[in-house]
Symmetry: C2
Subunit: 275 residues, 2 copies
């Protein structure tokens, strides 16, 4: 999917919601466990209930790998079920030496046919570049994550006075690909840093996790992060998936997604230049 196509979907749906399909087998409502593929049955119901409010779905690979080959099949079924025109993200946080990253890229872009994959920067350029050779496919690079541990290394000050490690990561990796091919993960719990990151990379999309269950403020994210093509995908996982643990889980998920979308519409109206 191209950036313009993504932006068009965002405007049509008045939403920049990414629904995280972090489907924990232990949290699937009881009555679905009778299904042949409970994880897919759950995801299918969630997708049906949220698709009007969602521009992107983001399964995190860990939730599928914990089930082995069976989990990989559930993931594949889920991705096949998501209609064209919806942006799909494999949240895999991969990164390896060149020839190996190339295989990961083929696993995600060809085997699973997602639009984007999250990539960790630690191993440097030749670990990232193999993901950038696929037409209309995206790298979403970890810059500043929303967890406590992000302080351990991402926030370290560098010696050449060039700022913190995550700033250097953004600065350097944005030389490898433009905003048509690269996005950045920026934790919403650091909305104060969003503004400054937005100055560093005015045109890139930011994938913002941590709104909702992790307590980030959508208003702050929209105010500090939005650009003239929206430039934001804000993720919610648990807040949508587990809005109810009963038979009404899908209805509750739809409601939770709609509430977020209505908020997002407000901020799109407020901050997006309509032209």
């Amino acid at each position: 999917m191209t950036r313009d196509q993504l932006f068009t979907t965002i405007k049509e749906k008045a939403s920049f919601l990414c629904t995280g399909l972090d489907t924990d087998p232990q949290k699937i409502p009881h009555h679905l466990l009778r299904e042949q593929d409970p994880v897919f049955a759950f995801n299918k119901a969630i997708i049906d209930a949220t698709i009007d409010y969602t521009v992107a779905y983001k399964p995190n690979l860990a939730f599928y790998e914990v089930l082995g080959a069976r989990g990989w099949e559930s993931l594949q079924r889920t991705l096949e079920y998501i209609p064209d025109g919806i942006f799909t993200i494999a949240d895999a946080k991969r990164g390896d030496i060149g020839n190996t990253s190339e295989l990961y890229a083929r696993a995600f872009f060809e085997q699973l046919n997602v639009d984007a994959v999250t990539v960790a920067p630690y191993m440097g350029s030749d670990s990232v570049r193999p993901f950038l050779t696929f037409q209309d496919k995206w790298v979403i690079l970890l810059a500043l994550t929303s967890n406590k541990g992000s302080a351990d290394f991402q926030n370290l000050e560098l010696g050449d006075g060039s700022g913190k490690l995550y700033e250097k990561v953004i600065e350097k990796t944005s030389e490898w690909a433009g905003p048509e091919q690269m996005m950045y993960v920026v934790g919403a719990t650091r909305a104060d840093m969003l503004k400054q990151i937005r100055q560093l990379i005015p045109d890139y999309f930011l994938l913002v996790p941590g709104v909702g269950a992790q307590g980030g403020s959508l208003e702050e994210v929209a105010m500090n992060g939005m650009n003239d093509k929206c430039g934001l995908l804000v993720n919610s996982s648990r807040g949508i998936l587990y809005a109810s643990s009963g038979k009404d889980f899908a209805v509750a998920a739809g409601k939770a997604a709609r509430t977020l979308q209505e908020d997002m519409k407000k901020y799109l109206d407020l901050y997006l230049n309509s032209d």
Copy 2:
């Protein structure tokens, strides 16, 4: 597996060879493609041919994920085939927020039942710690990798005069777990840095990739990296797996592994204090 058990195996086999099962479906000898599971058939023949010279096997996940669910099954079969007493490493380079890393840990330590998993440090302590709660299971942390891109971030000088990023990573993460639970990936193409890393963490095992096809020198690695429990696992993948592309691939792989083991025996005799 405990560190003592690993050391015992190293002494018994007079080897610290790790065979990397980076089985590229496109490089499997033609006659194996008739098998129901060509990847497993290849791995089985490689394991049979190399097991006398090998103390550890390290499949890289990318090579299996590129085949989807089928690849995961080949991986599972391969790991089940490796006898007890051999150290197994899932080279996965994972790392995610806490609850997600916990699922990855279960995927590797319970589902696949490997002894160790490689983990990327970028997301910090709460992305690594969930892997450290399993009895006799290991984290092998990326410190200094063997690829060119390692210069992009791992070699950056930090502002507090505490050295380079990879040194900080070693220093900080070694506070999270001792040498009974943690190892480090240290690229052999930087054998000059091995000595200094060995001073930082005298007791930890180092997993050294890049000997062989990538051109590192075993002698330098042994001289600079060995400690009184050997403290080294040196990996070779392509040099063993693809020693021949014909029907004699397994015989050739065995020979390549034996050549490395014979060299390793020499260095064990030379540098290991026998007591």
